[in-house]
């Protein structure tokens, strides 16, 4: 079976180099590889051949229907760890260990690849972090929301995110209260506190989750005023007004504690609810009038939940949302420097789907099928800035999936033989970004260049070599099991490649087809060939390993093009 697959793969490559479509009407091998780099956690030979036969549309439809993998249930534990909970209990209920493992297991083996990929992108836009979310059960319920909503409606997602208790805790909408003002206005706030509402969620939902700081044209470029300066989308006054809307929400009723512990624990499962005093009044909510985005006025005195709905509408209906979110999804899936036309086409789909229950699916479909995403090869001469640097997680999963890895999923925080080679050590500690700005700023540039390369913020002398060391470890050896937290370790399977080792030209060409969609330059081939040829043909595995190592550590492979 494996031999047959490899043969098919090799034949595919032969037809690729001669420029002949394998079958009329089917996508080409290279474009299929590129498509799967953009839509999954890494192409595999069987997946490439399947998608070639089925076509991109059919694959997308299948992905829409595929059951969600997600994360298994985690018991909700008390916020403060009981003294009896140590060892595995502490690891599983008070660290993200199980979630991080499951993330990689899903990415390596799950069938709902596109949903996972989009949910991962959304998790870097609508960010929460362990920095202020200490329990994995709290983190899990939020990540499940992102997975459930990955193909859904953006306005609904924004609403659900806003009321999710984990976001409430992370950005302080939870327990945010109205404040008695000076001069006092007793009709506005009933709880008598004398400080000011917390501005955190109000600012970041505007800046990061929806509209951004500058007014955008429908193609994502900035609008400019008469003097050529960008125009702010909102100001501090607007942030203050939203901070007053976002008052009065508290946790839903407590949940029963875990078996054997008992009692009750905070509810980070259900949406936050309206706080009411003994008389049923919304005594934490600021009832004064407010002016929201675009001058939209709330008259005041309305029920708290109605005000929240109106506020989410005022944000979700802003014309910035489609290009602002659409462009970021393009950057997460396809390329760091999309043309304005590309952004415009995607934003159009985003805006048209405003009331659709599959709005985000339609947006992702438009991103992946766009002419700017597709093609066998992006010519360096005409599109020199095309592509994106693989972020650490995708670097790891793409290598492992390409070579049929078996893994326990312990790949986030990883030290083997004194070498730090996990995604966390490469700068991407899953579920623990440094702040709501996630792992890297969308404004980061390619070193020494004027163009955007957000993921380059995670690519330094230190992390570049850690990537190479990860490749060295899995290609030349294995990540061994290590009690208690690495039950089986991770190994790739190179058996089917040995047969190609006595024909270095074919070996390298086949690897180029799998890892670089056949885009390897002749100079690159020659450089790798020299190293492979230095190894006796009798040592076929060493030849295979050398060729894979040199590709996997190359800059050409770090960049998804």
């Amino acid at each position: 079976m494996k031999t047959a697959t490899l043969l098919l793969f090799s034949l595919s490559f032969v037809s690729l180099v001669h420029g002949v479509p394998e079958v009329e009407g089917q996508p080409s091998w290279p474009d299929t590889v590129r498509f799967l780099e953009q839509s999954t956690f890494g192409p595999t030979v069987p997946l490439i051949t399947n998608v070639q036969q089925a076509g991109f549309e059919a694959f997308l439809a299948e992905q829409l229907a595929a059951p969600m993998t997600g994360y298994p249930d985690l018991e909700f534990w008390p916020q403060n760890r009981p003294a009896s909970c140590t060892g595995d209990c502490q690891r599983d209920n008070y660290t993200n260990y199980l979630l991080q493992r499951q993330f990689f297991l899903n990415a390596l083996n799950g069938q709902d690849q596109l949903r996972q990929r989009v949910a991962f992108a959304l998790s870097q836009i609508l960010v929460v972090s362990r920095v202020d979310v200490p329990l994995p059960s709290w983190m899990r319920s939020y990540q499940q929301l992102l997975h459930r909503s990955a193909f859904g409606n953006f306005r609904q997602l924004l609403y659900d995110v806003t009321l999710h208790p984990t976001m409430g805790r992370f950005l302080d909408m939870l327990n945010n209260r109205c404040q008695a003002r000076t001069p006092p206005e007793p009709t506005v706030c009933r709880n008598g506190l004398r400080a000011q509402p917390n501005e955190n969620y109000a600012r970041e939902i505007l800046q990061l989750f929806s509209v951004g700081t500058f007014r955008l044209n429908p193609d994502g470029t900035r609008q400019l005023d008469g003097s050529g300066n960008p125009i702010p989308t909102y100001d501090q006054q607007t942030v203050g007004e939203f901070s007053r809307v976002f008052t009065g929400w508290i946790l839903a009723p407590a949940l029963p504690g875990p078996s054997g512990i008992g009692g009750t624990v905070p509810n980070y499962r259900d949406p936050m609810r309206v706080r009411q005093d003994a008389l049923g009044r919304e005594d934490y909510h600021d009832r004064g009038p407010k002016t929201l985005l675009g001058g939209f006025a709330l008259p005041g005195g309305q029920p708290q939940a109605e005000e929240l709905n109106a506020a989410i509408d005022s944000i979700a209906n802003h014309p910035n949302v489609a290009p602002f979110i659409g462009k970021q999804l393009i950057q997460h899936l396809v390329t760091s420097n999309p043309t304005p036309d590309y952004v415009g086409r995607v934003a159009l789909v985003f805006a048209a789907g405003r009331n659709s229950p599959t709005q985000l699916y339609d947006v992702v479909r438009a991103i992946l099928l766009d002419p700017e995403a597709r093609g066998d090869l992006k010519d360096p001469a005409s599109e020199p800035h095309y592509g994106k640097l693989r972020e650490p997680v995708q670097f790891i999963t793409n290598i492992l999936r390409a070579f049929s890895a078996t893994s326990d999923g312990v790949l986030n925080s990883l030290s083997v033989g004194g070498s730090a080679i996990g995604s966390a050590e490469m700068g991407q500690d899953l579920f623990n970004p440094p702040s709501v700005f996630s792992f890297y700023p969308p404004t980061a540039r390619v070193p020494g260049e004027g163009v955007l390369g957000p993921q380059f913020a995670l690519f330094s002398s230190l992390t570049s070599l850690r990537r190479a060391n990860f490749a060295n470890r899995v290609i030349f050896s294995t990540i061994p099991a290590a009690a208690p937290n690495r039950p089986t370790g991770t190994s790739i399977d190179l058996a089917q490649w040995d047969a190609l080792a006595n024909d270095p030209e074919q070996l390298i060409a086949s690897l180029s087809g799998l890892l670089l969609h056949g885009a390897m330059s002749t100079e690159m081939r020659d450089a790798i060939r020299a190293a492979v040829d230095s190894i006796p043909a009798s040592n076929s595995r060493a030849r295979v390993r050398t060729a894979i190592y040199l590709i996997a550590t190359s800059s050409q492979y770090q960049v998804q093009r």
């Binding site: 920095v131 302080d172 327990n175 945010n176 404040q179 001069p183 400080a195 000011q196 509402p197 917390n198 501005e199 955190n200 600012r203 800046q207 700081t213 300066n229 960008p230 702010p232 501090q236 360096p380 001469a381 020199p384 592509g387 640097l389 004194g418 070498s419 700068g427 440094p434 702040s435 700023p441 980061a444 540039r445 390619v446 070193p447 020494g448 260049e449 163009v451 913020a457 690519f459 330094s460 002398s461 230190l462 992390t463 570049s464 070599l465 190479a468 060391n469 030349f476 100079e523 690159m524 450089a527 790798i528 020299a530 190293a531 040199l550 800059s555 050409q556 770090q558 960049v559 093009r561």
Partner: protein, 470 residues
């Protein structure tokens, strides 16, 4: 003839040249006589926006501070403040009780505070801000924008480089080596990038210095290994693709410097390691180790970057009912201990007067707290400067409307952006980042002629430098 780093970078097209040179120089420079001419700048970025309003507090005028801060439960009790005399102001202030190490350095005249400094396009006061008769920085109160402005010194428009990197660009000729002049233990933020110079990122302690960069899987020396040769050759290819070119730049330098650092060993610089270890302590420890090798590496000018996060204290900044304790107190304690220990390390290395350590942070926080034991985003902030050349024990900056460098702590008052009964107290800076940076860069060796190339807008502010370095 000694080749300067700039010449090295211009001449060597890629990895090969740089790799060979780095190794050769490292060997060569062991034999060079020690140079007394050494200077280093060490930047500590406090990510999230440090509440410096609770770091430096009026003691004589405590009531003004407390009257607004106590509403949200955030006023540090006067009795717990670490008193400092501030000669230029004629009154006493207090440091947060966690800052015992910095308080000692203040007493020794080795620590100073630059007051109410922040991002400015041009000199700005309450009237000109509120009437918009001046240009104001882009996206005030936003983390990402304000971090960027602190690191680039450019408050409107955008900049592709930071002032740390640009300072290195202008002082590269001091170093007779191809070892990078900018080293970071906290990634490669824009502060560290110049037009010519690119930062080296290394692992913090407890990672050994000779393993602070590490490439596994090759013999030592690796020069005759065909795979190693191929690895380097590949870094020269496909240069027509922008992202590939950028990645190869980073990796080529990493591969070259990894070779050089193998000879570094793992020096011990007391009082490091700290017990217990802390994030910032580990970073400053590695920096101290690298400074100890300055002669072997041929370095006469070095810029370092390290950072600590967690300062975005919107809630839980203090413990309810005990404002001197809590998350912010713990962060300040870590900063103070690490800076104090690092100063002691420079004394041990004999370079105390040749190293200046300074803080940056997104912004200060609202003087009026919010209702969740926290504070929100503001603007002008206070920053610490430490070193043997610091004219310590005093405040520095540009005097505002009250005649001192310290802002008037009155919501809706002469230094606030806000107005009315719900004003939060976001102080308009009287001192520009450009002036703060120019003081450091001038001491470091950037000439007056070159200063505008490092701080393009410094000419808008007077004086150009603030006088806190002797």
């Amino acid at each position: 003839m000694t080749m300067t780093r700039r010449e090295v970078l211009c001449r060597s097209f890629g990895a090969f040249g740089a790799a060979a040179l780095a190794f050769e120089r490292f060997g060569l420079l062991n034999a060079l006589a020690q140079s007394a001419d050494y200077r280093a700048l060490v930047c500590i970025f406090l990510f999230g926006g440090n509440d410096s309003g609770n770091m430096v507090i009026p003691y004589d005028d405590y009531a003004t501070y407390a009257s607004t801060r106590q509403n949200g439960g955030l006023a540090i009790p006067q009795t717990s403040l670490l008193q400092i005399d501030v000669p230029s102001s004629g009154s006493r202030f207090g440091l947060h009780p966690s800052l015992t190490g910095l308080h000692e350095l203040w007493g020794q005249g080795k620590a100073a505070v630059v007051c109410n400094v922040g991002s400015l396009v041009e000199p700005t006061n309450r009237d000109s801000y509120r009437n918009r008769t001046v240009r104001i920085p882009a996206n005030l109160f936003s983390h990402s924008d304000q971090q960027n402005q602190w690191q680039t010194s450019v408050a409107e428009g955008s900049s592709a480089t930071g002032w740390g990197g640009r300072t290195a660009d202008r002082t590269g000729d001091f170093n007779a080596t191809s070892f990078p002049p900018v080293t970071s233990t906290a990634g490669t933020p824009i502060f560290t990038s110049g037009s010519v110079e690119r930062p080296l990122a290394i692992a913090a302690a407890p990672t050994r210095l000779d393993g602070a960069l590490r490439l596994d899987g090759f013999p030592n020396p690796p020069d005759n290994d065909a795979r190693y040769v191929a690895l380097q050759n590949l870094l020269l290819l496909d240069q027509g693709t922008t992202l590939v070119r950028g990645a190869s730049r980073v990796t080529a330098e990493a591969v070259a410097i990894e070779r050089a650092l193998r000879a570094a060993g793992d020096p011990v610089v007391p009082p490091f390691p700290l017990s217990p270890r802390t994030s910032l302590g580990n970073q400053l420890e590695q920096i101290a180790k690298l400074i100890s090798l300055r002669n072997e590496l041929g370095m006469r000018r070095q810029i370092f970057f390290c950072s600590l996060g967690g300062f975005d204290t919107h809630s839980g900044q203090v413990v309810g009912g005990n404002p001197a304790a809590g998350g912010h107190a713990n962060l300040l304690s870590q900063v103070s201990n690490a800076m104090r220990s690092f100063y002691d390390a420079t004394v041990a290395l004999g370079v105390a007067s040749q190293v200046v350590t300074f803080t940056l942070s997104d912004f200060a926080r609202t003087h009026v707290p919010n209702g969740t034991l926290g504070t929100d985003h503001a603007w002008g902030s206070h920053q610490f400067v430490v070193g043997g050349s610091v004219l310590g024990g005093d405040f520095y900056g540009v005097a505002g409307s009250n005649g001192t460098v310290f802002p008037t702590l009155a919501p809706s008052g002469p230094d606030d952006t806000d107005d009315g009964g719900n004003a939060r107290g976001r102080w308009i800076p009287t001192t520009a980042i450009d002036q703060y940076g120019a003081t450091l860069a001038s001491w470091f060796g950037v000439s007056g002629v070159d200063l505008p190339a490092v701080f393009p807008n410094v000419g808008r502010f007077s004086p150009t430098t603030l006088g806190f370095l002797g």
